[in-house]
């Protein structure tokens, strides 16, 4: 879920130098939901993101074809960005959870507090997997594509009724980015950072209000997606 951290990635503007290239690519990119035949492509995306020290997120275990097939079954609303029929980016989006019964008019403060707690849990989703074909893209374009993926995934999540996204990030700031996660409006640490004792990644539990996240990302240099 190091990928989640990247979910919160900030725009650096580095990719502006290749803006023309990105525009050229834009016509070929479009957004759709994940499909049955995408499993191998999703696995390839993950391998490109966690396959080694130089990958987009850094090493993060094995992501099998079975995992990808399972994701497609469990999370059919997962958005993917496709170029020439090949998925280049995705962000796992779980199904929305059914709304609870409405709170009674005469509810006590304790009942209201409990209701609010349940609602917060219901409208929050945690990103377990996301990525881009980092191996096929120039670094700056990859960052922009990732931000574009976040933007569209968060909009899809908002349309499903989610209000918050959470992630366990291994850094306060992605190594390729210039902005710390919590510098974005509405992005906060849920808990204090938890540190590795043996040189591994730390854990930053982030929560980002989707409306603010979408607003912040829309101001970045996103790639046009049909």
């Amino acid at each position: 879920v190091k990928l989640l951290a990247a979910t919160m990635v900030a725009a650096t503007g580095v990719g502006r130098l290749l803006r023309g290239v990105a525009r050229a690519d834009a016509s070929a990119l479009h957004l759709r939901s994940v499909a049955d035949g995408d499993a191998a492509a999703l696995q390839a995306i993950m391998q490109a993101c966690v396959g080694g020290e130089q990958s987009f997120f850094g090493p993060c275990g094995e992501w099998s074809l079975a995992w990808a097939q399972d994701l497609i079954r469990r999370c059919p609303a997962t958005p993917v960005i496709v170029r020439d029929g090949v998925p280049l980016a995705f962000l796992e989006l779980p199904p929305a959870r059914p709304a609870a019964a409405a709170l009674a008019d005469g509810a006590t403060p304790e009942e209201r507090e409990k209701y609010a707690l349940r609602e917060r849990s219901r409208v929050t989703f945690r990103v377990s997997a996301a990525g881009i074909r980092y191996d096929l893209l120039p670094q700056d374009e990859a960052v922009r594509l990732f931000q574009t993926m976040l933007f569209h995934a968060f909009r899809t999540a908002r349309a499903l009724g989610f209000e918050y996204v959470e992630a366990y990030a291994p850094w306060e700031r992605h190594p390729l980015m210039s902005t710390t996660w919590t510098d974005y409006p509405g992005c906060e640490l849920v808990e204090p950072p938890a540190h590795s004792q043996e040189g591994g990644h730390d854990v930053y539990w982030l929560r980002w209000k989707l409306d603010l996240a979408i607003s912040a990302l829309s101001a970045e240099e996103l790639i046009d997606v049909a």
Partner: protein, 238 residues
Amino acid sequence: MWRSTALAAGVALALCAGGRAAALSLTFGATKDTQIDSKDSTVNFGTWTTAAVGFTVGGPGRINDTLLQFDLSPLPSGAIERATLRMFIDTTTQDPLALAVTIAQLQSDFVEGDGTTGVTWDTQPGVFASPLASATMNTSPGDWFEVDVTALSVAALARSNHAQIGLRIAPTDAPLDASSVFTMRTKEFDDGEQRPQLVVAVRPATPAPALRGWAMLTAVGTLLLLGYRVLRRRHISA
């Protein structure tokens, strides 16, 4: 005056007639509580206000267990009639969660940690193979998830020299096909009122025979004194 004297006598007689002490229900808040994480296996989460139990799917997957410790040294000696572990639920990933959990006793102490040093997945204590407690977690956020841990607590106290009971709450089955995680509030959450609790109903050891005899003598003596005072008052009135 005489009313209070009569009341004392009645209580003494009741104690004698009852022959057994009433069960006490005592609530112990966790003195240590933290999650451990199979994926971030060298990370300590001791400062977090919540602790997770469950599975998260994806790649190598993530297993979260929670470690708890209770200090039961104030517990009076006697038979434990019931012990209930209570956890205040903060979040769930599904409704209902339907997550089977198993609770086991830790074999040794652990360091809760400060977020930098402390217990991790890699350094967690081992657990005793039995007895275990199990339950299915279906509680919604905002409510207490309760598990009967009577047998586990009895065994744990028998094994412990200092009444420090450590527990591990873990998902029972192999990773499921969907993420299934709940978090409970820890003692670090606000004022700690919603920290994990162990509620123990204990029947204190039966009073010694000499004490029961003394109580009987007290009751009889009090009744005699009360009768004497009533008779004397009537005599004075007359």
